[in-house]
């Protein structure tokens, strides 16, 4: 079982406070309103999928959680505390995989992960063990001493994933984390996320365009459209709301975002 090779997060204390609370967050870039009063929460032990068409505001919402963009309105709380109160403490609790991870290509994989562990103040003995486990689990073992500039996209994504997980985060903010992963590694990652959420109480905010994946692993999904929350709930609840009980999430998503019937588009493109 591949899961056995991977380390788990530290046990979490129980409580009813959501790990992450986003309330009325707005953000604009010039005349473009990226987020408009967006609210949602991510309780401990849940995987919440953030879905939406390109430009819907998913990445901006995730960056706001990290404090990488400053909302013009609203609040973001981590364990009930505003993330802007003490940003370094908040960041210590979060593991983040950006949409297109930009790694330091002049470092080796091992040097990069060592660097990340230093940034999070991870004990050397602990980091050695955790990094080794992750390298084996994600089949990067044997490549850790090579410069990242020579890595494939999938290998870079694995390094970014390990970097997000290595310091026992309580909240994972993962922007399309399965991009470029081979089927085995994608499976390992999905199982790992499920395991961390169920057994360790880690909260996961997860964005993807592959709706089958969202349907398979998310406890709840939030559909963002034009910077607002269009719908939120379990897949079953969204199916019921859109009148598509029994349909896949893809049909639900396309219906809710107003792009259900694509036959004319396809026919035009095929000509």
């Amino acid at each position: 079982m591949v899961m056995d090779a991977l380390p788990s997060a530290r046990p979490l204390g129980t409580g009813t406070t959501p790990t992450l609370q986003v309330e009325g967050v707005s953000k604009s870039y010039g005349s473009v309103q990226a987020l408009h009063g967006v609210s949602f929460d991510v309780p401990p032990g849940q995987i919440v999928g953030l879905l939406g068409p390109n430009g819907a505001g998913k990445s901006t919402a995730m960056k706001a959680v990290l404090g990488l963009v400053r909302p013009e309105g609203g609040t973001i709380r981590l364990f009930g505390i505003d993330v802007l109160t003490d940003p370094p403490s908040a960041k210590r609790q979060i593991g983040y995989v950006p949409e297109a991870p930009s790694l330091y290509e002049f470092l080796t994989g091992m040097e990069y992960l060592d660097f990340v562990a230093d940034m999070y103040g991870l004990d050397r003995a602990v980091r050695r063990e955790r990094i080794a486990q992750f390298l084996i689990g994600l089949e990067l073992s044997g490549h850790e001493d090579a410069l990242i500039s020579g890595y494939s996209q999938g290998m870079r994504q694995k390094v970014a994933l390990i970097a997000a997980l290595v310091h026992h985060p309580r909240l994972l903010v993962l922007d399309e984390p399965l991009n470029g992963l081979d089927p085995r590694s994608a499976r390992v990652t999905k199982d790992l996320l499920r395991n961390l959420a169920t057994h360790e109480g880690v909260a996961v905010l997860f964005s993807t365009h592959v709706l089958e994946i969202a349907q398979a692993i998310c406890d709840r999904v939030i559909i963002l459209h034009h910077g607002t929350v269009l719908a939120s709930g379990t897949v079953e609840a969204l199916q019921a709301r859109s009148g598509l009980a029994g349909s896949g999430l893809e049909e639900v998503f396309l219906t809710l975002t107003g792009s259900g019937d694509l036959r004319d588009v396809v026919q035009a493109l095929a000509r």
């Binding site: 960056k63 990290l66 404090g67 990488l68 963009v69 400053r70 940003p87 370094p88 403490s89 960041k91 210590r92 979060i94 983040y96 950006p98 297109a100 991870p101 930009s102 790694l103 330091y104 290509e105 002049f106 470092l107 080796t108 091992m110 040097e111 992960l113 060592d114 660097f115 990340v116 562990a117 230093d118 940034m119 999070y120 103040g121 050397r124 980091r127 050695r128 990094i131 490549h143 001493d145 090579a146 410069l147 500039s149 020579g150 970097a163």
Partner: protein, 537 residues
């Protein structure tokens, strides 16, 4: 070779260069169009020509001394033949700094790798783009010389110089393409599955190539070289890059047939360079990235020497990462060449330099190098800044780390340079010690000044040729930095070797350094706080 394809690709490359620093601006504006450079060429030519005509009129005015007339002829005779070399020199000196900074990742993902283009077509297009980009320098020189040449009856010589200068721009572009191909190979498959030594060898090789070309075509050295070679016809005849110069010298000497021969030979040499550059691209260009192993085998044992400097673990990690990047990143290598070029210039041309000028020169080199490194120290993070800002390091920690990562190499360089040059010129122990301290002060002050600009005006765009700092900010940092530097280094030199009024001069230097150093620290720190407020991209 399909010239239409070459022209289309060249146009795209020029537009890419023009727009690369202005991601947020309108690409349809005039400033983003290739024709903009042509307009700059024409404008510079006209402005320089107007200034030249004014100067010629002044020299020829009845009130001017009788010997003024011969001055114009002397300028035309000595400068016109030199112009083609300016073309090659400009492209190489500037090109090495900017063209070779193309990151390996972008070089590998360049669309030219998979478009149906032949190697000669790509080389021709890229060279045309490079030559066109740097043409304003030649336009300026031609504009200034045009009135002089006309006034002394050397219009044919001027026209030939103009043609050969443009040809030289192209030759410089071909040389850049050769180095680009070879260095790309050095960055990938040529080293195969190498170890730590691979990285060192690659860095040293590139440094040597860049240093050699920078020195070989440095205008200061070239001018002296040409002057010495005026009578050494045999040497000129066997160095193809000098055939253009020889053609002009022959024309000035009334030998049009010989001049035409040399000019044609120069053109033939350009064609040969194109063929070689295309061949090198076929042989060495590799659109794949190789695995380079650095066999550490385990996580590091920490950074005890950085901890001894008072840095905590995250700060030390950033310093260690930056120092590795300095020697491993291809786009950083041209920056490392700067102090070498300037010191070698001093050693080659400055044997008769006085001790006062020597101190100023060294302080300037230490300060300039440090300013440059400081100015690019934040922008070099590029998109990975997103990761840094997501970690718990905080603005103060990152500021401390960047200061350390900047001052460690610059202080080391300043010390080594001061000691080496001081010993070479036989300075006394006291002066040598003072020189080291002054160089260190200049390095620290200018490094912090550059960092202050970097904290506020860095360019984090992941583009083929990273700029690290916005061009306007780089200009402002350089201009203001040089003014501050000279207000410290001149009184400092006066205190060291001026022979009198040592204490007041020292106090002035120290006061200026403290005021601007404090200002730079304050400005840089607040810039880092602002940086953490929101991701700047």
């Amino acid at each position: 070779m399909d010239l239409h394809r070459v022209r289309r690709l060249a146009t795209v490359l020029i537009a890419s260069q023009l727009r690369s620093g202005r991601a947020d601006s309108n690409p349809k504006s005039l400033f983003g169009q290739p024709v903009f450079i042509a307009l700059v060429d024409v404008g510079l030519f006209l402005v320089a020509a107007a200034a030249g005509f004014a100067a010629v009129s002044a020299v020829r005015s009845p009130s001017a001394p009788p010997s003024s007339g011969t001055l114009l002829a002397a300028v035309a005779n000595s400068v016109l033949p030199f112009l083609p070399l300016v073309g090659v020199g400009v492209v190489l000196v500037a090109g090495m700094m900017f063209e070779l900074t193309t990151t390996t990742r972008f070089a590998l993902s360049d669309a030219a790798n998979w478009l149906p283009l032949g190697p000669a077509e790509y080389v021709a297009a890229s060279t045309a783009a490079i030559a066109y980009t740097y043409s304003p320098a030649v336009a300026l020189a031609l504009g200034a010389l045009f009135p002089v040449a006309v006034s002394v009856g050397q219009t044919p010589e001027f026209l030939l110089a103009a043609a050969l200068s443009l040809l030289a721009l192209v030759e410089g572009g071909f040389l850049i393409e050769m180095v680009r191909s070879v260095s790309q190979r050095a960055g990938t498959l040529a080293v195969g599955r190498g170890g730590r030594a691979t990285v060192v060898v690659r860095a040293v090789l590139l440094l040597v190539v860049i240093l050699a070309l920078q020195l070989a075509f440095n205008p200061v050295l070239l001018y002296g070289f040409v002057e010495r070679l005026r009578s050494a016809a045999l040497v000129i005849a066997i160095v193809p890059f000098l055939w253009g110069t020889q053609a002009l010298l022959e024309l000035q000497a009334g030998q049009p047939a010989v001049a035409a021969g040399f000019a044609l030979a120069e053109a033939g040499f350009a064609v040969l360079l194109l063929a070689i550059a295309a061949r090198l691209r076929v042989r060495y260009w590799v659109p794949t990235s190789a695995e380079i192993r650095i066999s550490s085998g385990d996580i590091a044992r920490g950074h005890p020497w950085l901890a001894a400097l008072g840095l905590n673990a995250p700060e030390a990690a950033v310093v260690s990462k930056d120092l590795r990047g300095l020697v491993r990143r291809r786009e950083m290598l041209p920056a490392l060449v700067v102090p070498f070029v300037l010191v070698v210039l001093l050693l080659v041309e400055g044997r008769s330099i006085g001790s006062f000028a020597l101190v100023i020169w060294l302080g300037w080199v230490a300060g300039f190098f440090s300013l440059f490194l400081g100015a690019i120290s934040v922008g070099q993070e590029r998109r990975a800044l997103q990761f840094l800002l997501a970690t718990p390091i905080g603005p103060t920690g990152l500021f401390r780390a960047k200061v350390a990562a900047l001052l460690i190499p610059t202080a080391l360089t300043a010390t080594v340079m001061a000691v080496a040059v001081g010993l070479y010129f036989g300075l006394g122990v006291e002066v040598l010690l003072g020189l080291v301290l002054l160089s260190l002060a200049c390095a620290a002050l200018l490094g912090l000044w550059g960092l202050a600009f970097a904290a506020r005006f860095s360019d984090f765009q992941d583009r083929p040729r990273p700029q690290f700092l916005r061009p306007s900010a780089m200009l402002a940092a350089t201009g203001s930095g040089m003014a501050i530097l000279f207000s410290v280094v001149v009184p400092g030199a006066f205190a060291l070797v001026g022979g009198g009024a040592t204490l007041p001069a020292l106090l002035v230097a120290a006061l200026v350094a403290l005021v601007f150093g404090g200002l730079a620290i304050f400005w840089a720190r607040s810039g880092f706080v602002r940086l953490f407020r929101e991701l700047p991209f």
